[in-house]
């Protein structure tokens, strides 16, 4: 294992120290329990938005704390859900009296810990709504799995809900907008190489030099199929076909096309994928009116990409365009 680390046990702590040192204008970092909170929180009358999850997916979620996006992020150990005490303190720290929205990715651990935190926060008189993001079409949704995983649509939901909260929309409204993003967003990812969890010290799974995994999860969970490596155009086509056929997008629909890097893939290659994905979207009668290209929801050093399509409407487009100022996403201010 070759990594820029000191000790595997200290990696999250040292990362958080780095974030605190780098972005004092945007956030404050709390330790024991660990959470990153927007500077100046709580904001009176504004719905607070809290998300969180295992570390190793940076910039998600800590890089999205700031104006127009998250009010707080709770980082767990690498690929491990954070704990309810972190979420409770973060929830209390961002409650400006208008309630708090928890944006939760659909993983067993995240669900359980956020449920406990929401119960504890309600016991303290804070109004909490939770929305679960489950946009990964690679998982066949059935009674026999933990259900579809939360992936790329999480980034879009955090941005859009953050913008809605900024305009002082109610908790109910912001939660409904979050559900709308989840209902209209679909994603699928693929890997060229495995990630290496620092405390494990070796690759989570093994792919031969000429193999790839289609439908991979952001923790290296297996996908739909392992196959011979194909050119980028073919990969883009496989991902786009699965996504488009899952949510019946209609001719003329406006969409946001998000091509995301898994952590170990250069932006250059993401644009190659975007080129083909965009072409397929247009051929399918979709109007790509917004896009996002870059590594925003990653899986440590995994090479690969994911594609997310979000069906837009006027409201979602307006909220997407609204100003945002976070460490990782910034425009309009």
């Amino acid at each position: 294992m070759k990594k820029l680390i000191n000790e595997p046990e200290h990696i999250v702590y040292e990362e958080l120290r780095g974030i605190a040192a780098a972005h004092p204008d945007l956030v404050e970092v709390h330790f024991d329990p660990n959470y990153i909170v927007r500077k100046g929180s709580p904001l009176k009358g504004k719905v607070g938005i809290v998300s969180g999850g295992g570390s190793g997916h940076e910039p998600m979620h800590g890089g999205f704390v700031g104006h127009g996006m998250l009010d707080a992020a709770c980082p767990g150990a690498v690929f491990t859900s954070p704990t309810p005490d972190q979420m409770l303190e973060a929830t209390k720290g961002v409650n400006g009296g208008a309630g708090v929205l928890h944006i939760v990715k659909n993983y067993t651990g995240d669900i359980m810990n956020f449920e406990m935190a929401a119960d504890l926060a309600r016991d303290e008189g804070i109004e909490v709504e939770s929305v679960v993001i489950n946009d990964d079409v690679a998982v066949q949704d059935s009674l026999y799995t933990a259900g579809r995983r939360g992936v790329g649509a999480t980034v879009l939901a955090e941005k859009i809900c953050g913008a809605a909260a900024e305009t002082r929309r109610s908790l109910k409204d912001v939660a409904n907008i979050c559900r709308k993003v989840n209902d209209r967003g679909r994603s699928m990812g693929m890997a060229l190489t495995s990630c290496i969890v620092p405390h494990a010290g070796k690759p989570t799974f093994s792919l031969a030099e000429d193999e790839m995994e289609i439908g991979i999860g952001i923790h290296g969970e297996p996908g739909r199929i392992r196959m011979k490596l194909a050119p980028a155009d073919k990969i883009a086509e496989m991902l786009m076909t699965s996504i488009i056929s899952d949510l019946p997008y209609k001719n003329g629909d406006e969409v946001l096309l998000f091509v995301n890097g898994m952590g170990g893939t250069p932006l250059m290659e993401l644009y190659v994928v975007y080129n083909k994905a965009h072409e397929i979207a247009v051929k399918s009668g979709l109007k790509v009116t917004r896009n996002l290209i870059g590594s925003y929801i990653t899986s440590l050093e995994m090479a690969g990409c994911s594609i997310t399509l979000l069906k837009l409407d006027d409201e979602l487009t307006r909220l997407w365009d609204a100003p945002v100022k976070t460490a990782a996403l910034r425009w309009g201010m």
């Binding site: 690929f79 704990t83 067993t108 651990g109 406990m116 799995t145």
Partner: protein, 213 residues
């Protein structure tokens, strides 16, 4: 024969030691069908429990179990934090105020703990989870208690049931948690959660019968 408060404290300390000894093994099992963090996570949790234990060593057994549960919830994370947390919290609820436990008390504690796990994780027998080790153990303890077996006999029966339940997860298809994404590919692997649950019950028999079998 009864389980004293010191016995309970020793069991918890020995659990922490057993988890430490089996950390790499649990990581390996979890890497095969999960995300490889189970060993590291519960090890972190039990180390936190060890440092917390002296603060409640003079309290009742219910308080001790609840403290273990709360500590695990706030330090483990993932799915195993809330699940093991629920196990110990519920064990604490039914042993509140007690300074020693009879076999019937211990059987009731494990049953309550199991119910806490089921309520939180919504797994049923055969889903390839902790429940597959805990449910047969709770049943064995309950029956041993009704039959009037001695505590050491009951603990041994319970440990055998736990181990059998753990082994029975090998041919199962995982239906909960991250292993469920594997579907049929999870067959042939022993569930890490059932393995750590079995470990705690093996430690109970070792701690409370001085290893005599």
């Amino acid at each position: 024969m009864r389980i004293s408060r010191d016995d309970v404290l020793n069991w918890i300390r020995n659990c922490a030691a057993a988890v430490a000894d089996n950390k790499e093994y649990l990581i390996q099992l979890d890497s095969d069908i999960g995300d490889g963090d189970h060993g590291a996570n519960i090890h972190r949790g039990f180390q936190a429990v060890l440092s917390k234990l002296p603060t409640v060593a003079d309290k009742d057994i219910g308080t001790i179990f609840k403290t273990v549960g709360f500590t695990l919830i706030s330090t483990v994370g993932g799915a195993s934090g809330p699940l093991y947390g629920a196990l110990f919290m519920q064990m604490g609820t039914v042993t509140a105020g007690k300074l020693e436990l009879t076999l019937a008390d211990w059987a009731a504690a494990i049953e309550a703990g199991l119910n806490g796990v089921i309520l939180r994780g919504k797994a049923i027998l055969g889903d390839k989870t902790m429940v597959d080790a805990l449910m047969p153990s709770a049943k064995a303890l309950h029956e041993a208690s009704i039959e009037g077996k001695s505590l050491p006999d009951a603990l041994r029966t319970c440990a055998r049931a736990a181990e059998k339940g753990m082994r029975n997860t090998i041919p199962l298809v995982a239906k909960k948690g991250r292993a469920s994404y594997l579907g049929e590919r999870s067959v042939g692997h022993q569930d890490p959660g059932a393995t750590s649950s079995n470990l705690l019950l093996q430690v109970a028999v070792r701690t409370w019968t001085n290893g005599a079998s």
